[in-house]
């Protein structure tokens, strides 16, 4: 029940935002396609950062185990905060690319 309700809710607010954007703010309908593409690029970049962070974390922990002979748990990188920080990294990188574009 929760799933369909959440989808319905987000669908309704999205339709509302589209109406406000086109009728009140004066945004072009065609620009929406480009906006969706940009969102997908940001999500993709976030994924790249997330995989990079996880891989770097695992390699670092395993290296510390080998070098120091001390146990460090791989669960150190099992934290939702890493996903959020990766998202911010991806967004920042995409914004940087946009700002640097000729």
């Amino acid at each position: 029940m929760e799933g369909p309700f959440i989808l319905l809710l987000v669908g309704l607010t999205s339709v509302g935002a589209y109406w406000v954007g086109t009728k009140r703010v004066g945004l072009s309908g065609r620009g929406l396609r480009r906006a969706v593409e940009r969102v997908l690029e940001c999500v993709g970049m976030m994924l790249v950062f997330l995989v990079g962070n996880l891989a770097a974390g695992m390699i670092t922990i395993l290296a510390v185990r080998v070098v120091t002979r001390k146990f460090v748990s791989l669960y150190l990188i099992d934290d939702e905060v890493l996903v959020i920080l990766s998202l911010l990294q991806g967004l920042a990188f995409q914004c940087w690319r946009d700002a640097s574009a000729p």
């Binding site: 929760e2 799933g3 969102v39 997908l40 690029e41 999500v43 970049m45 994924l47």
Partner: protein
């Protein structure tokens, strides 16, 4: 292919995985595929694997859940020994010690409880429990750990010389349909797949 296009495809794939994980029964189906069904038969010991203590050194919900299930199996007379594992967190007591105290408080005789607090990974637990139980002639065990980790745990305990009967306390495939819970289940599935890959590469399985 341009970098922007690669990112778009990755983003599309991530979004598709997110939506199917949150809004379809895919995580439930995957967990059913990855888990091993319960096989509750008489054995020579019940081994309850550790998870972690809470920051205030009390049993976490997961640790309590497993310990309680192990105690229930003992009460059903399925084995004469109850082995509780789990290392210490920081300077506090070991999870195994806290669990043993909990079991005694529930009336389990102290002489049937064994603790193993040195293993920090599933593999280390298997090796150490092996060293603890082999001298007692124990070969057939009921293994209590979460259903997703059971296949990996069973593999390392079989390598340690045990015949393993799977006794997962949970059935994660029946996780409710709330999107957040399904996403949590998908996260556990991905973590377990990475753990299995690591154990295979390291030669533990």
């Amino acid at each position: 292919m341009s970098w922007a296009r690669i990112c778009r495809l990755l983003g599309l794939a991530a979004l598709a995985v997110f939506l199917t994980s949150a809004f379809t029964p895919l995580p439930n189906l995957l967990s059913r595929w990855l888990t091993i069904p319960r096989r509750l038969e008489p054995a020579e010991a019940i081994v309850v694997l550790g998870t972690r203590l809470s920051p205030d050194w009390e049993l976490s919900a997961a640790s309590l859940y497993r310990a309680r299930y192990g105690i229930a199996l003992y009460r059903r007379g399925l084995a004469p020994l109850l082995v509780l594992t789990g290392p210490a967190r920081g300077e506090g007591p070991a999870e195994a010690t806290v669990r043993a105290k909990f079991a005694r408080e529930l009336g389990i005789p102290a002489e049937v409880i064994l603790t193993e607090a040195g293993g920090r990974t599933t593999r280390e637990e298997a090796v150490r429990v092996g060293a603890l139980l082999r001298p007692r002639g124990v070969r057939k065990i009921l293994l209590v750990t979460n259903s997703l980790a059971m296949a990996r745990a069973r593999g390392v305990f079989e390598r340690a010389g045990f015949e393993v009967l799977a006794a997962p306390p949970d059935d994660l495939s029946k996780t409710s349909g709330e999107p957040g819970l399904r996403l949590g289940l998908m996260q556990q599935i991905l973590e377990e797949l990475i753990a299995r890959l690591y154990y295979r590469v390291a030669g533990y399985l």
